[in-house]
Symmetry: C2
Subunit: 84 residues, 2 copies
C-alpha cells in the first residue's frame, strides 16, 4: 500500500509541475503559436473541476495540485492571447 | 455524493480528451516548436505513473483515462522529434 501512495504522489507531482517548463519556454520565446487554445481551455476546465472534486471529497493534495496546474494553464492562456 | 462522482467524471473526461486537439493542431501545422519537450516528458511520465497507480488500486477509469492521454502525449513527442 505504501508503494501505491508513493506512486500516486510521484504521478501527482509530475503532472502538476509539468506545465512549469512550458510556461518558462513560452515566456522566453514569446511564442505560443503551436499550442492549441482548445487544449488549454479543456485542460484548464478539467483542472478546475478536479479542484472542485478535491474540495467535495476533502482532499487537500488534489485541491493543491490542481489549483497550481490551473494557475499555470491560466498563465499560458494569457500568453497565448498576448503573444498570438 | 452523486454530484461529486459526476464532477470527477467530467474532470477526467476533460483532461483526457484535452490533448486530442493539440495532436490535431500539431498534425495539421506540422509544427511543434513552441511545445516544451520537458513538459511532454514530465506529463507523459506522470500519466504512466497514474496508470500504474490505477492498476495498483484496481481502478479501470484511472487506468483507461491515463493510458489514452499517455498515448496522445507519445504521439506529440514523436511529432516533436519528427517536425522539430
Amino acid at each position: 500500500m505504501e508503494t501505491t501512495i508513493l506512486i500516486g504522489y510521484m504521478a501527482g507531482t509530475l503532472t502538476t509541475i509539468s506545465f512549469l517548463p512550458q510556461v518558462i519556454r513560452s515566456w522566453r520565446t514569446r511564442s505560443t503559436h503551436d499550442i492549441s487554445f482548445i487544449m488549454l481551455t479543456l485542460f484548464g476546465l478539467g483542472m478546475l473541476l478536479w479542484a472542485v472534486y478535491g474540495f467535495h471529497i476533502g482532499s487537500l493534495p488534489i485541491i493543491l495540485a490542481n489549483t497550481i496546474t490551473f494557475a499555470l494553464v491560466v498563465v499560458l492562456v494569457a500568453m497565448k492571447v498576448r503573444y498570438k
